[in-house]
């Protein structure tokens, strides 16, 4: 390799990175989810969280549960995710309203820590499925957790919210969608 080529290498590496950045910019996290909207939920079956017992913790759930009729909310969470912690009271609030079944998708989490998390903060979910490797999460297009999906009775994804839910999002975005689907 000539001396000139060595001095050109850093520039080439950077330009390659810049191209990737540019592509990355077009894949805006807020736009991306629309790809799944009004599509049926991906086929999956998630086991409960492994707590050492044969039946596990949190029942687990699958795509069949989401297609069984009735509106469901799928909340993607993990114990390592800080914003999940801040949105937890609002997931609890939503679950207590009993307007929809609330499923927890435990994403890329160690059972030990997710069980602790649920014990500490409380378990608002009707059922929890563990996705330790994140395979199912990828099918759902999980990008930055927490994420919250609303699924209609026929098993179609009708709404997706990326980021921590708060009182405002719950009142003005999540609940209106559920209301609309109920009618």
């Amino acid at each position: 390799m000539s001396k000139r080529a060595i001095y050109l290498a850093p520039l080439s590496v950077f330009l390659l990175m810049a191209v990737y950045f540019a592509i990355g910019l077009t894949k805006d996290p807020k736009i991306l989810p629309s790809a799944l909207i009004d599509k049926p939920v991906p086929e999956f079956s998630l086991p409960p969280i492994d707590n050492g017992t044969p039946q596990g913790y949190g029942k687990g759930f699958s795509s069949a549960d989401l297609k069984a009729g009735g509106i469901s909310v799928v909340n993607v969470f993990a114990s390592w995710c800080l914003p999940c912690r801040t949105e937890h009271p609002f997931v609890t609030k939503l679950a207590k309203m009993k307007v929809a079944k609330v499923y927890g998708l435990n994403f890329k989490d160690a059972p030990k820590y997710s069980l602790k998390w649920l014990k500490e903060l409380g378990d608002p979910y009707d059922a929890i499925g563990a996705d330790p490797k994140g395979r199912v999460g990828i099918d759902w297009g999980v990008y930055g957790i927490p994420e919250t999906f609303i699924v209609d009775g026929a098993g179609k994804i009708r709404f997706k919210y990326v980021g921590p839910m708060n009182g405002d999002i719950l009142e003005n975005q999540i609940l209106p969608v559920i209301e609309k689907l109920k009618r």
Binding site: K3, Y7, P10, G24, K30, P83, P89, K116, K119, G141
Partner: protein, 660 residues
């Protein structure tokens, strides 16, 4: 009216920066001294104007002027004064304003104290600084104006994110930015040197204090952030390999490499192209660190804003600054001639090894941080890269480096012999083995990494002390001679010794905190006791209260060891009034061997509180070690030899102010 003054001052600063970016550069090219001389008053005018803008925004925050959108979004009348002030930079727009303020501060420091720099070099350096500033002013004025008004005026604001309402985090961004922006000096000097086509020992001496000052600030800034995460997030952890942490760690790694390679340029007149490249890369990573997290390219907890318009501008700015400087490097770099010859076993060889490890580490962190993005860009699906990757890459890199770190300072410049150096390290080797056996005996069931980590820390610590002993000829002659040698040791050498000793202490701390942390999570009723690491934590109950802008749940623990009260711990859980967001305030009692750490959570139906109790071994060593490292840096900055080069004066002054 006042916000408009701030806005107007920013526009004027842009115009001044534009003049400063162009005329001195052209003047230096043509040898026109009048044009070159413009750089100095222009740099000072920029500082004045940005200070006015910053003052105006601060005024809006302190008086809670809710006609300013930025204040509405990030402040509240009930917020304590400290956080009203820190709220100025606790958001995207304001943090950019702080960035340009610090940039202007460094620029004026060169203008005022760089009197002994060759006029051409000074003009070019200030011109490059102004080019960076132009980019930032444009970014602010076009996409992120902090002075934007809102009508109708809301009655109150949305408050600052409660997690940011904390004394540690109030000072974390300014420190970090002093580090990031400090590296712009090395960058500007590198660009000026490329244009002039000359890099020599004098150049290295001018660059070094700036790099050192930036390094001290960045080290302190990263540590403040880590410390905050430790006591505020309530997980007992201190580093999460979060993209934002990585963003600040990459310039640190590159900057540390630069610090070491610039010594080689100064002493041996070689490694020139590499040092210039490191200066460019370090600042590029600082820019990336400033921007990556806000562009929407990476989503993270820390991200202030994900706005596509900003993202495009940021990418454009990065391409111009980084791409432009690397293109200049490709064009002018081959012309840099190194005279020194290079022997692998020598001081410069050891420093090069340090550089290779640091650069590889920085590249690995960059890869791990961007990999999810790259994979997504080529349609490979979405993944996230976490601590296992970084630990797997980092530890194998650091082990040989720490082994070499004890040897390197023993080697002489040019050509050294490994044998005498190694023979002086037998004490260090012995202490290492004893330490490893002791650790293994006490913590037989612990991870093997703990044994290795403590062993390495002992090796490095003793190795550095042996080097110091050798330098002053301890036990080789009369004690009085050793003492007088000790007194005559230059501060720069002391600085290196301290910084390396500090790292040894910090490694012991990180090892302890990583390897032997014990935790216990449970629901406790008043009167319950939990035992951990030989301490009994008695829960005396919890009570409610109110703070200035939050309500508190405060728990009380009595910590008892061998029947004697060690300390009381009062962990808190706060709910902030405006955002209704909860935060945890861990209660921490530090002892020599570790931190007692308690967190309180919610009350359940039965009246029990969820509590988390940790024993975090040697965490205090980590903070102490880093403090010693920063102290070493400051000590080195205060060396007379640095002050002889006048630009160092300001650097040293700044660092001392920060150390105070």
């Amino acid at each position: 009216m006042i916000p408009e003054i701030g806005h107007f001052a920013l526009i004027l600063a842009l115009l001044v920066a534009f003049v400063q970016a162009t005329m001195p550069m052209v003047g230096a090219h043509r040898g026109n001294h009048a044009w070159m001389a413009i750089s100095r008053p222009a740099a000072l005018a920029q500082l004045g104007l940005v200070a006015v803008a910053f003052g105006c925004l601060t005024q809006a925050y302190v008086t809670s002027d809710f006609s300013v959108l930025n204040v509405v979004q990030n402040s509240h009348t009930a917020k304590p004064l400290l956080y009203k002030i820190s709220g100025v930079w606790g958001n995207h727009e304001g943090s950019l304003l702080l960035w340009v303020l610090i940039l202007a501060l460094f620029g004026s420091a060169v203008a005022l104290f760089g009197t002994n720099l060759p006029p051409g070099l000074r003009a070019r350096v200030l011109s490059v600084q102004a080019m960076i500033a132009v980019g930032f002013y444009l970014f602010m004025l076009l996409t992120s104006n902090p002075f934007e008004r809102i009508f109708p005026v809301p009655i109150n604001g949305n408050d600052l994110n409660p997690l940011l309402q904390d004394p540690g985090l109030a000072f974390h961004p300014p420190m970090l930015y002093l580090g990031y922006v400090g590296f712009s000096m090395a960058f500007s000097f590198a660009i000026a040197a490329l244009i002039e086509g000359r890099v020599d020992a004098a150049w290295a001496r001018w660059v070094r204090p700036w790099t050192l000052a930036a390094w001290c600030f960045l080290t302190a800034g990263i540590t403040l952030g880590s410390w905050w995460a430790y006591y505020e997030l309530g997980w007992g952890g201190w580093w999460f390999w979060d993209p934002v942490e990585n963003a600040s760690f990459m310039p640190w790694l590159a900057g540390t490499a630069l610090l070491h390679s610039s010594t080689v340029v100064e002493k041996r007149d070689t490694l020139k192209g590499w040092t210039i490249l490191l200066a460019i890369v370090t600042f590029s990573l600082s820019l990336l660190g400033t921007f990556l997290v806000r562009s929407g390219v990476l989503t993270s907890v820390h991200a202030f804003a994900t706005d596509p318009a900003r993202g495009v501008f940021i990418l454009g700015l990065l391409i111009v600054v980084i791409g432009g400087s690397l293109a200049l490097f490709a064009w002018r770099g081959p012309a840099l001639v190194s005279t020194g010859v290079f022997q692998p076993i020598s001081r410069e060889g050891a420093l090069l090894f340090n550089n290779l490890v640091m650069a590889t580490a920085a590249a690995a962190v960059l890869l791990g941080t961007l990999y999810p993005l790259l994979l997504d860009a080529v349609g490979g699906g979405k993944v996230s890269v976490g601590a296992p990757f970084f630990n797997a890459v980092f530890i194998p890199l650091m082990v040989p480096m720490i082994v070499a770190m004890a040897i390197g300072p023993m080697l002489s410049w040019k050509r050294a012999d490994l044998k005498p150096a190694l023979s002086r390290l037998w004490v260090a080797g012995l202490v290492m083995i004893v330490a490893m056996i002791a650790v293994w005996a006490v913590e037989t069931d612990g991870p093997f990494m703990g044994v290795i980590g403590i062993g390495l820390a002992a090796w490095l610590f003793m190795g550095i002390l042996s080097e110091l002993a050798g330098r002053i000829r301890l036990f080789q002659g009369p004690l009085s001679e050793s003492l007088s040698r000790l007194r005559r040791t230059p501060r720069a050498a002391w600085g290196m010794t301290m910084a390396h000793l500090g790292l040894a202490v910090a490694i012991a701390g990180m090892t302890g905190a990583g390897a032997w942390k014990t935790e216990s999570i449970q629901a406790m009723k008043p009167g319950d006791t939990v035992s951990i690491a030989g301490y009994d934590f008695v829960f005396d109950g919890a009570r409610s209260g109110t703070g200035p802008n939050y309500s508190i749940l405060s728990g009380t623990f009595r910590v008892i060891r061998d029947g004697r009260l060690v300390t009381m711990l009062y962990p808190e859980k706060r709910i902030y009034d405006v955002s209704q967001q909860p935060t945890t305030e861990a209660a921490i009692h530090s002892t020599f061997l570790g931190d007692l750490y308690a967190v309180i959570g919610d009350e359940d139906e039965t009246g029990a509180f969820v509590t988390r109790i940790y024993f975090n071994p040697l965490v205090g060593w980590m903070w102490t070690g880093v403090l010693i490292m920063v102290f070493g840096g400051v000590l080195s900055l205060s060396d007379r030899r640095h002050r002889v080069g006048a630009p160092a004066k300001r650097g040293a002054g700044l660092a001392q102010a920060a150390g105070a």
